[in-house]
Amino acid sequence: MVESVDLYPGGYPARYGRFAGGIVAAETTKPRSDLHGEGNIRIFDVGALVEGGFAGGKGTALVAGRYSYTAAILSLIAKDTQLDYRDYEARATYDLGENDRVSLLTFGSYDLVGQTQAGIDNVLFASEFYRLDLRYDHRFGPNTTARVAVTGGFEQTRIPNQPRNSKDTMSSARFELEHVATARVRLRAGGDVTRDGYSSDTRPYSDPDDPTTKKFNALFPPRDDVAAGLRADVQLDLGIWELVPGVRFDLFSSGPTSKIAVDPRIASRLRVAKLVHVIHTFGLAHQPPSFLVPVPGLAVGNLNGGLQQSIQTSAGVEVDLPEATTATLTVFDNVFQNMSDTLGVSQGDPVDSAFNEPRSLGSAVGMEVYVKRKLTKRFGGYVAYTLSRSTREVGREKFLSAFDRTHVGNVAAAYDLGRSWRVGARFTLYTGTPVVPPGGNALIPPPRSLSPDRDPTFYRVDLRLEKRWNLTKTAWLSFVAEVFNTTLRKEVLQGREIGPVTIPSIGLEGAF
């Protein structure tokens, strides 16, 4: 159902906002009225997608889902353990006329880990989220399109060790406009209002003096958060120079606190030779305070501590090489202000500091090299390498982020062996993150370093073998064998050896 995924490490288009870090943007496939589908079944899960048309092609409907029976199998083996996982997607579109279409998109997911102890079912962790998006698209003519949409959503998580449910009931409305003014000028604009209603159950059976409970309640108060934004950008085609200036305005409101953000963005792509482009991006981005990791239904309520802000710059060269190969070299320098990066500045057990919200100044500088050759060729693949350094400052102390890795590399290749056999391999390597010195809970914690000891370098080799049979002109079936971490490498995190995490899998894939 996903047509493409774009990663924007910074300086992204104005339509993306409210996040100070990188953006991963996924585009859905266009609706198809011809009946088609695909599916796969593997050791761990099964998934399927079916799409077709109705009403003489005016409408389309798509349903898809994935179910992992790993959970069911484990639950059978370890009867005291309950695991559950599922997700789904569905979409329907209907053309009201030549220029009008309504669409309904929904997706969701559910995960649960539980344990039965002394005959009592105890949910250790559970999480779910659902979205429903209703869109109306109208074409005003050959050059102008508009979309209005409303979205509803619900998400909920059973917080471990509390244990209680935190929920978010969200609703949103948005509009988008796109106008091709001339062959060289394309205007894009939009706006939206989103309300998130956060609530948490009262922590049951808890010591009223427990500081953890008080900190949780202070960090995640029940409240309504509202974010409203307007954005616009212009795609200018100036011959050898493509320029996209843009800006977005956001108003964030949480309880009695409001903050305004103005985020200018600009991207430039200049052809300096026939096959060589120089690319620059610059942008500001703002984000409300965030929790350790995104958890459905749980968002930090401390807007009065200010927005997180990032200043993102990058410059690069893109070269089109022979044999359908493209190479890019990009250097980047991002500054993060007022970060609520609890994990990145953690000095002890992150679980102990989960409900703290220290603010920090951050920096990420580095270089990326990316060379790819289309997988549609007999031999295809990519090489990606990132050299980077990520630092944090708290008060007068400057140190490396807990997630800093100096070198990260990936090489993937696929080769068509002939007779519908295809083999693939992926090599991943990254150097270790800094080892946090003990004693972080002390009144005067040991100082952190800009050249700390690190965990050892880790690498992994994954292999894949596929044999395909073409059943008809459009239908095919393939056998796939995969091994994740073929060489049984163990990873070391904070001095603790983990694994080896090696996952073999065989399965069938098919489509019609």
Binding site: L35, F54, G59, G108, V123, A126, D207, D209, D210
Partner: protein
């Protein structure tokens, strides 16, 4: 097929609205029992003690960092109050430590250690006290750490008066507490049951001439340790006194002690008792807390030099 697809999409959409109550199951666990843990001073801390060698010893202030109550895995613990307090046990007869909610039968443990960032303050304890305890320091036994016990007091015999202000930095986890020597798990919590257990702080343990709680108390070795004659006894002065010169070192004469798991004395690295200070710090201090009147716990001492976690004498605590 097409009708099925349309129905599928409709069902998916409808499920979103149905899901506004969510699929995460409700909490169906039965009402748990509660275990309230208190901390109290021993009679000796409240009223002072008269030692076998004729000294009247008074404890003016006894600060302790204590908390992190934990139950064994055989209980279903609903909430574990993993926090600690700084208590001055001379100010009040009994103070709350924490409340744990659980069901089942299991072991009980707690921790004495320098207070954490979030440590709560007991009666008569100030933020300055907490800061003092949390400030890293070093002594002959701990390379770097805060203070777990701060014992301030004085002793008189006739017209002689000696005072002491002693700080100890060990981190001690007390596990497997039992109510009686041959007792089983002390926690038995049915649904809606209620238990109250007390941990007495017996500061006079540092005056014992043996690890046995019934051992005689004496202050003369402390008084004699005041070599500079300023009337104030320090840990350095205690550590300057060879254990062999102390009239009775109890079970701990000079030497190295390394006893197996079943032994009373310790697990892990051997302790070396060469001085009176060694004896007080390594042997007597871990025996200060007493569980529920006459109960005992197995202490595991961390934070002393060269240790990788050890258990010290268990009789008191």
């Amino acid at each position: 097929m097409t009708a099925a697809l349309v129905l599928g999409v409709a069902a998916g959409g409808a499920s979103v609205f149905a899901a506004f109550q969510g699929c995460v199951p409700a909490d169906t666990r039965p009402v748990p029992g509660s275990l309230t843990v208190t901390v109290s001073p021993s009679a000796g801390v409240l009223g002072g003690v008269v030692t076998a060698d004729g000294w009247a010893v008074t404890f003016d202030r006894v600060l302790v960092g204590i908390g992190s109550v934990r139950l064994g895995d055989s209980c279903l613990t609903y909430t574990e109050p993993d926090y600690d307090r700084v208590l001055d046990v001379t100010t009040k007869s009994q103070q709350k430590l924490s409340i744990t909610y659980a069901i089942g039968t299991c072991s009980f443990g707690f921790r004495v250690m320098p207070p954490s960032t979030d440590a709560l303050l007991g009666d008569g304890v100030t933020e300055d006290d907490k800061t003092m305890l949390r400030t890293p320091g070093a002594d002959a036994y701990v390379a770097r750490g805060g203070i777990a016990y701060s014992l301030v007091g004085h002793a008189t015999r006739g017209d002689v008066r000696k005072s002491f202000q002693l700080s100890f930095r060990p981190r001690v986890r007390y596990n497997n507490c039992v109510l009686t020597a041959d007792g089983g798990d002390p926690v038995d919590l049915p649904s809606e049951g209620a238990l109250v257990y007390d941990i007495a702080i017996e500061a006079e343990a540092l005056l014992r001439d043996d690890v046995d709680a019934a051992a005689a108390l004496r202050f003369e070795p402390f008084a004699n340790a005041d070599r500079d004659g300023d009337g104030r006894i320090t840990l350095d002065e205690l550590s300057a006194v060879p254990i062999a010169t102390v009239r009775d070192g109890g079970a701990f004469e000079a030497g190295t002690y390394d006893v197996d798991d079943a032994g009373i004395l310790r697990q892990g690295r051997p302790i070396v008792i060469e001085t009176f200070g060694d004896y007080v710090y390594e042997v007597l201090i871990p025996s200060i807390p007493r569980f529920q009147g006459t109960g005992t716990c197995r202490p595991s001492v961390r934070g002393t030099l060269g240790d990788g976690g050890s258990a010290s004498p268990a009789p008191g605590g």
